[in-house]
Symmetry: C2
Subunit: 232 residues, 2 copies
Amino acid sequence: MTPSHTAESARRSAGDPPPAELRSRLLGALEGLLAHRAFDAVSVIDIIRAAGVSKASFYFYFASKQAVLAELVRQAVRRGHEAADPWVSPDAAGPSDPVEGLRQGVTDGARLWRENAGVLKAIVESWGSDDGLRALWLDQMNSFTDAAVTRIEADPEALRHLGGVDVQATAAGLTWLGERLYYLAAAGVPPFDDQTVLIDTLTNAWTATLYGRRAADGRPAGGAIVDGHEGR
Amino acid sequence: MTPSHTAESARRSAGDPPPAELRSRLLGALEGLLAHRAFDAVSVIDIIRAAGVSKASFYFYFASKQAVLAELVRQAVRRGHEAADPWVSPDAAGPSDPVEGLRQGVTDGARLWRENAGVLKAIVESWGSDDGLRALWLDQMNSFTDAAVTRIEADPEALRHLGGVDVQATAAGLTWLGERLYYLAAAGVPPFDDQTVLIDTLTNAWTATLYGRRAADGRPAGGAIVDGHEGR
DNA sequence: GCGGCGACCATACACCCAGTCTGGACTACC
DNA sequence: GGTAGTCCAGACTGGGTGTATGGTCGCCGC
């Protein structure tokens, strides 16, 4: 065996590859595997084979395969927060209609999930059975909840409609509803495998909770999202 | 079960124990273990030790430990459906106020989860990584969704408020929100570890979605609503 | 009362995986 | 050319699943 290293020399050759490049190869390998397979159907051996890295090196850079996933999740969520940032700040060039603002945020979330489906599916399926992943995911959900609370408390109409309802708990519920529906969509579970249904349902939940009114529904079925603002 | 010999005597003694009694001993053993431990921290060996049953017998009655969990889930959900049955049928001596009816259903769900916390936590944490459990859980959620759809379509006020919104998707969303929040409550995640917060938040989501109004706040005592943020 | 059968136990085994550790090879730099 | 750093190959322990084998007990038909 050992046909002189298949994929461009597992060995460092001419000083070009930066140190700790193996680390990102491992990250990329797991990400790739997760595109086609569930996290706990992936073994450490699969990862190191895909990365062309030895077991010893794997355990030099990561404590476990859960740690690799955790790093991928942090990367994905960091990108997600950057995307959601303009949505949180109230008057930063967003749509003036608050319902349209919500729909925009929901749509951004759907895009984030589409672009990181493998990694996010993996964390959602695994955070229940690993303490490190659990802490990480709860932390991420808390940060999304906090952003939602900030958003709500800057919104007089929402505050008025909510009255004395617990804002923190309401925001947390909406956050977790998002986690669930995005996951089901990514997993292909009907009816949320249809992006239009997903976005309409989530948007509707937010607007009904915060404003007591329906979002303009996309369409009963089929067509693209035409946000016609229909009275009734 | 089997009052005569408690947990000792793995051997059949005097013809009293019915055949296939080992099966229920195995079910009980897993249920007991799940009260204190996560499902995937339980091995087949743990189960057979707790049940006082041999490995060979285990694999005679069940194909895997997932199959044991599946049976426990079916039992728990069957009880749950029986409990929720009066809630679905519209005029069967339930509370006249539909909001109170919803709160009752939500409260019943919370009780079901409290009484079967171990088993239900286990399925929620594991259905993502086993095909059999996945099919089972999706099926259960579908049956709850169907019940909700039936309930909604028999409710003129809800229908009027929903207008053209996709009833199926809305009902599915509310069902999955319940799954998530009940699970978080069972797992002790704030703020839903507080039963009052859990029930208020879920009830509020249902009433806001179906009727566009807030549920009457929980705690009937006190009169004035305590607004403001509860410390997480 | 004897042989067989069915329910059950004990254990060994084949296989897979996680995580640790050793030995050796290559490169860079002094 | 030596030394330190980086990496690989693979052995090894320990634990898990699921199967296969042989033995033990009580019962039932004869």
